[in-house]
């Protein structure tokens, strides 16, 4: 095992990881910063974000608006101190990205244009056509090349944290090309490893979104918070789950059922006119839209397709010019993957698992309960998303809190003494032994069998609507899958060189544990809030008993322990969450 000593290890080379690495380096150029990623950074899943990133910029908007939209969108489960910090820093980060070259879409006068997203009072979403995540990621990656002092470990797969005397002291990583193990000793670790959407069968996420960082933190006793809140994006392609951006609706796209009827008006999001209006109809929040789809499917109003029922996302009235200018990726994706030209035909869509609102519990400074461990981006629960994330808050989150994590970690390492390296080495060797044993597995079930059963069970029990019996069945299934996983996985590949089957087996281990945290957190939340909606005895929000964060803590081979922690409420006491209503008609820019 090779040992490399650095000051800070950033795990994950997506938007959050790159922003954290740059911030740590700029905060103290003397620090040794390692950026470790299982893919070359520009392959990270940030690349697939489409619609845009929030930042107050219009004169008719305000930080208070962004705060209110976020807190009510999150059904009051957001930590309001974190939201306040967030909204105060989004715009500066968007400007920072602009100064680094991000090709934001512009108005004719050269100023920044912003579009609507669901649940917003005022247009607030900075966008780069419909490839915003792609442009943000490439801008950050290319800008990071200005700082060769940031030492990159591309295609290194981090398998475990190393902890000594209550402080994180580094990570064990596999160099994928050779299978060689590296101990990266450090004084701080920043996890920016993304979400866990792949625990669902039909999802919008890239194959790499497997909850690795969540699993690692969880195994070291750090709680996973609010994991029951999994966002279903209302518009994905059936079958593949490929995302069709909310920007389509932000630009004026409409959703219709098999009768050509704009069904959202039947689900508290209408009336239809005047249209378009903010926070109404297709500009409602994601949880409500996905739930409306489910009801339409129950009523038989959806349209049959080989990969499940769909509704129509209709852009035709926007005209070819606007569609090609604002939604070029969607046009290409619809043509390639659905055989549809959105200029002439509506796009068939259905909800798919999209985003993990919860994550590794941290305070608004990105600090976790484990000293030296910082988190940012989708793997984290810094407290801004609550029970339902607003579209375009996650791209802003990765840069706002990526920067915080980089700066905080840089400050922290100044005062941390060097560790005694012997026990660190021993721990790394034990972790190495565990993963090598997994690679040796030559009897048992195939990875895909367990992974598919997990994905199907999560969809059946912890989907858009939930009930105690369904959730219990998924909890039982996951316990059984974990047993089967431990009983043995059969690998065909026992080579050390670029063994992706081995990595997939390690990922599956994390996914099963993270899925269990999701399922048990859901089962214990006996109310309906945001993306967690129950069909049994708990159909309404219960602030008296459940205005609190869930905390899933690992409990050996047994199901997780579910505890609770208070929500930080500063200025906005819980109110009824309302959308639709006869609002003001708006002009889309």
């Amino acid at each position: 095992m090779e040992v490399i000593k650095v000051d800070i290890v950033v795990v994950g080379g997506g938007g959050a990881g790159l922003r954290a690495a740059i911030a740590a380096h700029v905060a103290d150029p003397q620090l040794k910063v390692a950026l470790v990623s299982k893919v070359v950074p520009m392959r990270s899943h940030t690349v697939a974000a489409e619609g845009g990133s929030a930042g107050v910029i219009r004169s008719d908007d305000s930080l208070a608006n962004h705060f209110d939209d976020t807190v009510s969108g999150g059904d009051w489960l957001c930590d309001q101190d974190a939201v306040q910090y967030f909204v105060e820093h989004c715009t500066a980060e968007m400007v920072q990205l602009e100064h680094w070259g991000c090709p934001w879409s512009r108005k004719d006068d050269g100023s920044i244009n912003v579009r609507f997203f669901g649940g917003m009072k005022v247009q607030r979403t900075w966008f780069a056509a419909d490839k915003t995540g792609f442009h943000i990621l490439h801008t950050l990656f290319q800008t990071s090349l200005k700082y060769p002092a940031i030492q990159r470990f591309d295609e290194f797969f981090v398998v475990d944290l190393v902890v000594e005397d209550g402080r994180v002291r580094g990570v064990l990583a596999i160099e994928i090309a050779t299978g060689a193990r590296f101990l990266l000793e450090s004084k701080a670790v920043i996890l920016c490893t993304g979400g866990a959407g792949r625990v669902y069968r039909q999802n919008t996420n890239a194959g790499i979104v497997t909850g690795d960082g969540m699993g690692m933190a969880y195994r070291h006793g750090v709680a996973l918070r609010d994991m029951e809140f999994v966002q279903y994006h209302p518009t994905a392609l059936a079958g593949s789950g490929i995302l069709i951006t909310e920007g389509c609706r932000g630009e004026g796209g409409i959703l219709t059922n098999k009768h050509g009827y704009r069904y959202l008006q039947d689900y508290g999001l209408g009336p239809l006119d005047p249209w378009p209006r903010p926070k109404a109809m297709e500009l409602g929040p994601r949880d409500r839209l996905s739930q409306a789809f489910w009801h339409e499917e129950q009523k038989g109003n959806t349209i049959g397709s080989p990969h499940g029922h769909v509704v129509h996302l209709d852009l035709r009235h926007l005209g070819a010019k606007k569609i090609h200018e604002r939604l070029p990726l969607i046009t290409e994706v619809a043509k390639t993957f659905a055989g549809i030209n959105p200029v002439t035909h509506p796009i068939p869509v259905r909800p798919a698992a999209h985003y993990t609102m919860g994550g590794i519990a941290s305070n608004r400074h990105t600090e976790t309960s484990l000293a030296g461990l910082y988190v940012a981006g989708e793997c984290s629960s810094v407290g801004i998303h609550g029970a339902n994330r607003l579209g375009s808050n996650s791209l802003a989150e990765i840069v706002v809190f990526g920067k915080v994590a980089g700066e905080r970690a840089a400050a922290y390492v100044r005062d941390v003494p060097e560790a005694g390296s012997r026990t660190i080495r021993q721990q790394a060797e034990a972790a190495e032994q565990r993963v090598l044993e997994l690679m040796g597995g030559d009897r048992g079930e195939r990875i895909a069998t367990l992974r598919n059963e997990m994905g199907d069970s999560m969809e059946a029990g912890i989907g858009i609507f939930r009930s105690a019996s369904g959730m219990q069945a998924t909890c039982d299934k996951l316990a059984q899958l974990r047993e089967r996983y431990h009983a043995g996985i059969r690998l065909d590949d026992h080579s050390l060189s670029f063994n992706t089957e081995w990595l997939t087996a390690i990922e599956l281990g994390s996914m099963l544990e993270v899925a269990e945290a999701v399922a048990h957190s859901a089962l214990q939340r006996k109310e309906s809030r945001g993306a967690h909606v129950r069909l049994d005895d708990y159909q309404t929000r219960d602030d008296e008993n459940f205005l609190k964060h869930s905390l899933a803590t690992r409990n050996g081979d047994d199901p997780p322990h579910i505890g609770y922690a208070p929500v930080a409420i500063t200025t906005s006491p819980p109110k009824t969450r309302s959308y639709g209503g006869a609002g003001q008609q708006v002009v889309l820019t």
Binding site: R43, Q96, P103, R106, I242, V333, S497, E501
Partner: protein, 254 residues
């Protein structure tokens, strides 16, 4: 357009090479059931999940934006997620790693040479004075944006390098994607870095390494047109040689 999901079977032949055990590459053949909406990538995933877990390839987003899954299919560089099995049936597919790169394992190539070249073109905004954040965003009209926008669409998938005969002959050539990205920054109204990039452009391995075959632009899945970017920079490089470029607006000709 309705998609036919009737299942048929297609033969997929994959290049295999494991440096631990093989002295040279060989091929393995698989029978893969497929429906009309299945991509080549989904065919490979089927093989890995059901038939042979040791078949090794990169993939991630499966929607043609992450740039991971470039391969040669029947000798043509493509993104496997963006290419469909139906288009080859009833013939077989032969899948190989991208041309012109060393093979790490099976269909996985070593992309480090490209990453070095990308870094060499200084692919970031270079400005004489740092603009404070408080000064807000630069103004950039849609026309100014359009001067570089197409070149900013590069997903670094390396199909253009696999297609480039010059890169195949001489891997010192900076190559299509990196030169397109160089042009992307040079042509950005916010950038003042063309002089620091001129050395890369003017070098033998720079734009003059290109012999105008144009296959790079043909295989580009994002219509970046690196051949056009390179040839614009031949004009700029020539004007730079004669001292004309510095008299013009930055970025030279479009």
């Amino acid at each position: 357009m309705p998609i036919d999901t009737t299942t048929r079977t297609i033969e997929i032949e994959c290049l295999r090479y494991d440096p631990q055990t093989d002295t040279e590459p060989h091929f393995s053949s698989y029978q893969v059931p497929f429906s009309d909406d299945m991509s080549v990538l989904e065919g490979l995933q089927y093989i890995k999940d059901q038939l042979d877990g040791s078949l090794t390839f990169r993939w991630s987003c499966r929607m043609a934006i992450c740039g991971s899954c470039g391969q040669e299919v029947n000798g043509v560089p493509v993104l496997s997620c963006h290419t469909f099995l139906r288009d080859y049936f009833p013939h077989k597919l032969r899948i190989e790693p991208l041309n012109n790169f060393p093979i790490i394992r099976d269909l996985v190539i070593d992309q480090n040479d490209f990453l070095d070249k990308l870094e060499s073109v200084k692919p970031y905004l270079v400005t004489k004075l740092e603009k404070p954040l408080a000064a807000g965003p630069h103004l950039q009209t849609p026309q100014q944006l359009n001067r570089y926008y197409a070149y900013s669409q590069c997903i670094n998938c390396l199909l253009c390098y696999a297609a480039c005969p010059q890169y195949g002959l001489n891997s010192d050539f900076t190559g299509p994607a990196a030169l397109a990205l160089l042009h992307r920054y040079n042509a950005d109204s916010r950038d003042q870095g063309w002089q620091v990039r001129a050395e890369v452009i003017n070098a033998d391995a720079g734009v003059w390494g290109c012999t105008l075959v144009g296959y790079c632009s043909e295989v580009c899945p994002k219509a970046v047109d690196p051949a056009h970017a390179i040839n614009q920079n031949k004009v700029n490089s020539a004007m730079d040689f004669f001292g004309v470029l510095k008299l013009m607006n930055k970025g030279g000709t479009e």
